[in-house]
Every structure is written in C-alpha cells, then in structure tokens.
Amino acid sequence: MTEMTYREAICLGLTEALDEDPRVYLMGEDIGPYGGAFAVTQGFWEKYGSRRIKDSPLSESAFVGAGIGSAMAGLRPIVEIMTINFSLLAIDQIVNHAAKVRYMSGNQFSVPMIVRTVTGAGASVAATHSQSFEGWYASVPGLHVVVPSTPEDALGLFRTCREMADPVMFVEHILLYGYKGEVSDSIKIPLGKADIKKEGKDVTIISYSKMVHNALEAAGKLAEEGIDVEVIDLRTLRPLDVETIVNSVKKTHRAIVVEETTKFGGFAGEVVSIVQQEAFDYLDSPVYRVAGEDVPIPYSMPLEKLAIPDTDRVVAAVKNIFKKSV
C-alpha cells in the first residue's frame, strides 16, 4: 500500500503506460513544458521528449481526431482534453468517429484511445468551465466512460483502460486531484464493476466521481441518527454494473441517485429507470435523485454552492425518504 493523491495515481498510470508500451504517446494542450493544466504531466516532456509528449495547439477537433487516426494505425494514444467543457469542440470526433469506426468498418479497425478529461463544478470558474458531461458520453455505444473517485480507483481503472480495444473517456474530477488515499501496489480494476464504498442495510446511495465523497459524508452523518446507508460508487458509467445496483436495492429497499450534473436528462435518470424495472417489488419508496439545479453554473461562490449538490442535501433527501416511507 502506498498513500498518494488522485493526481499522483493518474501520473503513475501514465508513466507506466509510457514506460511499458512504445505505442503509447500523450497528446494535448499544455501537457508539455507547462506540465498539464492540472499538473498531471509535470516533468513528462523533459523525460520522454516531444515525440511521445505531443504538446498540441488549441485544436481539440484536430488533435482528438489525430488520436483516432493514429489508434486506427496501430498506436495507443492517450489524449488529454483540458476540461470536458472543451470536449464539445471535439464531440464530432468522439461521437461520430471514435465510437463508430469499429462498427462501421465491420470490425476492420478499432480505436484503442484513452481520452483523459476533467469534469465538475465547484472551482468558481463559471458556467462554461463547470459542466459534467460524462453522462452524455455514456449514452454513446462504442465508448467506455470511466469516472474514478479515489486514487486507488483512478490507478486501478487506468491500468485496465490501457488494455481496452475501444475508446475510453477517462473523466477526472477537478476537485479531486489533491485527494489522498491508500493505493494497493498491484491494483487493477475491471470496467463495469461498481464498488460498494460503504456497506449498509437501510438505504442505497448510488453515485460516482466526486459525489461519492458527499455520499460517504452523508452516510457518516446519517449513521449518527441511526440510518445505515450503503454507498455504491459506479466507477464506470458505460459499462454499467447493473447487478451491484440491483442487489443492493433488493437488500435496502430504498435508493437515491446522487450526481453533480443538472437533473433534467441526467445519467441518474437511467439508473432510476433500471432500479424501478429490475427491483420494483423490493422498493419501499420511490427512487429519488439529488442532482444539480437546472441552471448554468454561476460564478459567484454562494450561488455556485446552491447550484450543485452537497452533503447536506444528500442527508436531507435520505431523511425525506424515511419520513415518506414510514
């Protein structure tokens, strides 16, 4: 076991990829001498040189597409899009090309590319820099969508992503880079396997990325009031671990889905749909969602706090369930 930050875990994953696989190269904005917008690739350019650390111009569509082409031609690109907000400038490449080349070519080509990008609000950077689009990408067949919440999950999932034959959206949370945790040296986590971050018997909170930490905090507070919460971290949105979700709800009979993005059309709706379909007879309560308000994320800190879910709101939602189901 080694203690490290989320940033260090991803950095280690990247270093291993570069050291072990000559087909791997990194490409993205300011990943070179600058060291990455979130300092994940600091020192990489000096160590590996510009052949393998391709510091690219501000051309998201071009460099993501270049990643696709190079993957089709046998390389293993790891492309960094500075934030998921900017991925909109490359969404044609991701959705229309990366996700579809295998199918449309009748399996002649594949795109074994990892797109690393950064999601989330809470950094006071206003509406265009604070969005959480990972759920959108999860709606696209042909993509994998990975949303780690801890250093161990980040490294363990990254090691698996390196072996995937198809494109991965590896979505890191902007507020988690400094988060520290224990990491097993040989950790490797398959995609499509959710993690029960805390066992409990009264209610299941299903979440992913940073909101897992809010769910765990809420579980701690609720324990003081005698409510035993189970917290499931989805870890990957596509593939989705339906079995772990359903088994947990069958045990607890109550569920809340917590996510950061706006509630309307959010990924949580998909989870709610699965739960009601697969575990309807076990439910003692409707399945609720705690999600972002239906507004652009405001700059001003007090307003921003109102726009995104926090621990107190998760606690209140759980209490509300018990009020209603009594």
Binding site: Y25, R51, K54, S56, P57, S59, S61, A62, F63, V64, G65, A66, G67, I68, G69, S70, A71, M72, A73, G74, L75, P77, D92, Q93, N96, H97, V101, R102, Y103, M104, S105, G106, N107, Q108, F109, S110, P141, G142, A165, D166
Partner: protein, 343 residues
C-alpha cells in the same frame, strides 16, 4: 443565378490533353488509367440503376466526371500508403484496390460488403488495401487523416497519407486546424481538394471568400499549394507524382486544388436544377474519360476495338459485381450487436 457562372470563375490553366504525348506515362499506363476511369464510371452508372431498383438505399453520391483525380493521384501511391476520403468515395476506393464486388455488396447492405453492410455507400473502407475509409461528416475525416500521418511519422514508416476532400470541407474549422497541425509537426500528408464547384447545392463562389484561388488557402500555413485540371488525368498524375515524392522525402504537407465537376447532382436525389445549362454543357465537353480517349486515339493510334474492349470488360466486371451483391445474403440479425466493442 447572380454573378458569374461557374464555367467562368474556374478556368483551369491547362494545356489541352490531346496536344502532345506525355513524357511521364507510356501507352500501356494510359490504357490502364483509362480502364480504371471507365470502371469507376460503370460502377457509378450501375449503382444509380440499382438505386432506382431499390437495391441501394440511403444516400448515393456518384463520382462520375471526377474520375481523373482519383486515378491520377492514387496511381502514384504504394500499396502501403493510405488513402482517406469524403463520402463521394467509390472512385478512390476502387483505384486503391477495393474489390468492386465487395464495394457493390456494401452499397446493397449485404453481409459480403467490405463492412458487412454496416457502412454503406458513404463509408467504404478496406484495411488490407490501405483504403482508410470514406467519411460522411464533411471535414470530419481530416483530423483522422492527420492521425494516420502522425502514426506513420511516429513509427518511421515512410508511408504517405493522401487525404481527399471537397470544396465544402474548406469551410469547416477542421480544415484550418489540420493545415496548422500537419505543418507544425511536418506530417507526411497530401490534402487534395476536389473542387467540383458545389458544396451540395451551394456554389463555391457564393460560400468561399476566395473561390478563384482555393489553392492559395494553404499559404497562410506555409504549406505549398497547387492547382491542377482535375479532368486531365495526365496533369493530375504528373503533379501528384512530384508531391508524393516530396512528402515521402520528409518535406511535409502539401495542398492541391483539383478543379472538376460533378456530372450528376450532389446525390441521386438531386436533379441539380440550380446549375445553368451552359455550365453543365461546358463541363460535359471536358469529360475526363472522353479527353483521355481522344489522346489515346489521336496521339497513340489506339484502335477503336481496343477502346471498345476496355468498356466491354469494365461493364462485365460491374455486372458481375452487381450479380454478386444481389445474390449475397443480408447480414444475420445477430450482426446488429457485433462489432460495437472488440473482445
């Protein structure tokens, strides 16, 4: 139609093909080129027939009239070089070596198609032949082409990537992103713009700031730009021969505007009523197949029988391809779920 017609705004500065024998190509090669061009034309005629019979569905964009570009350009490439193109992709695919049977079967949506019927007319692709695909989001394939070139450079493979595009793609941001990226990384790629004067129904002269000097659009990126008569297979071949060598020698990206014309509309659903009759007539006279035929007959004294035999042989090959496509089975239902992810 306001303003000048497209016959006037675009006068390729080319000598008449029939004026002399080319130095770069012998009679045998020219006959080979002629055969390829006729094969494409026959393929397109057959695909239109099959569309009207209901065997080909969806969008069908034929390459008739533009054959000299694919033939003149791709014949300079080696088998391992890459070709990537837009959705009007039948011609490039055939010249790069895709089997007409597999191509036609793909148009029919049959399991024997190059993509097992999952791509259709706009998305022909053949890994084995280095035909890296037709892509149907305008401009969307340019970054991917840059990626092929990047991989070639990374692996030190000395391959050339030839990326076709239409004049419509010049207005996509990806064109400019890719010009810049390929230049700063000195990638082994040729961008070949087939300027057929229309982006779907929109005249290029109405939508481009500089329709008369498209070939100069690469100058802003310090990429050499060239203009060629895209209906003159010898001129296309000669220009592309030099550029292919330059790229292979590490001289970086090149840009070409090949001026040409769609004989048909944008797609089979388009009667092209927006085109003035005089313009269509002008370009019909410049049909690249007729031009090469005249050269072969006038300067090489190729007998009519030989020419006729090329046509008969191409027609037969395409009839065989259509028969193969028709007799092939549709994909099984289980194919719906295969190839979404690798195993």
């Amino acid at each position: 139609m306001a303003g000048k017609t497209n016959t006037q705004n675009s006068k390729p500065k080319s000598k008449k093909m029939t004026s002399s024998k080319p130095d770069s190509l012998n009679e045998e090669q020219l006959l080979e080129f002629y055969g390829q061009m006729v094969l494409i034309r026959e393929f397109e005629k057959e695909s239109e027939r099959q569309y009207t019979r209901g065997n080909v569905k969806g969008f069908l964009h034929v390459y008739s009239g533009e054959e000299a570009i694919a033939v003149g350009a791709i014949n300079n490439l080696k088998k391992e070089d890459y070709v990537v193109t837009h959705y009007r992709d039948h011609g490039q695919a055939l010249v790069k070596g895709i089997d007409p049977k597999q191509a036609m079967a793909e148009l029919f949506g049959k399991s024997t198609g190059c993509s097992k019927g999952k791509g259709g007319s706009m998305h022909l692709i053949d890994a084995e032949k280095g035909f890296m695909g037709g892509y149907a989001i305008v401009g969307g394939h340019l970054p991917i082409a840059v990626g092929f070139a990047l991989a070639n450079q990374y692996k030190d493979e000395n391959r050339v990537t030839l990326c076709f595009m239409g004049d419509g793609a010049l207005n996509e941001g990806e064109f400019h992103e890719c010009m810049n990226l390929s230049k700063i990384w000195n990638l082994p790629i040729i961008f070949l713009c087939e300027n057929n004067l229309y982006g779907m129904g929109a005249p290029a002269k109405d939508h481009l700031a500089t329709p008369d000097k498209i070939y100069k659009m690469s100058e802003a990126y310090d990429i050499p730009g060239f203009r060629v008569d895209g209906n003159n297979v010898v001129e296309v071949y000669d220009l592309m021969k030099g550029l292919t060598e330059k790229v292979r020698n590490g001289e970086g990206p090149q840009f070409v505007e090949a001026q040409t014309y769609r004989i048909q509309g944008h797609s089979i659903a388009d009667p092209a009523k927006y085109r003035p009759d005089e313009e269509v007539e002008y370009w019909k006279k410049k049909d690249p197949i007729i031009a090469l035929k005249s050269l072969l007959i006038d300067k090489y004294n190729v007998p009519n029988d030989t020419i006729e035999q090329i046509h008969v042989s191409a027609e037969q090959e395409i009839i065989d391809a259509a028969d193969f496509a028709e007799q092939s089975p549709f994909p099984e239902d289980k194919e719906l779920f295969s190839d979404v992810y690798g195993v």
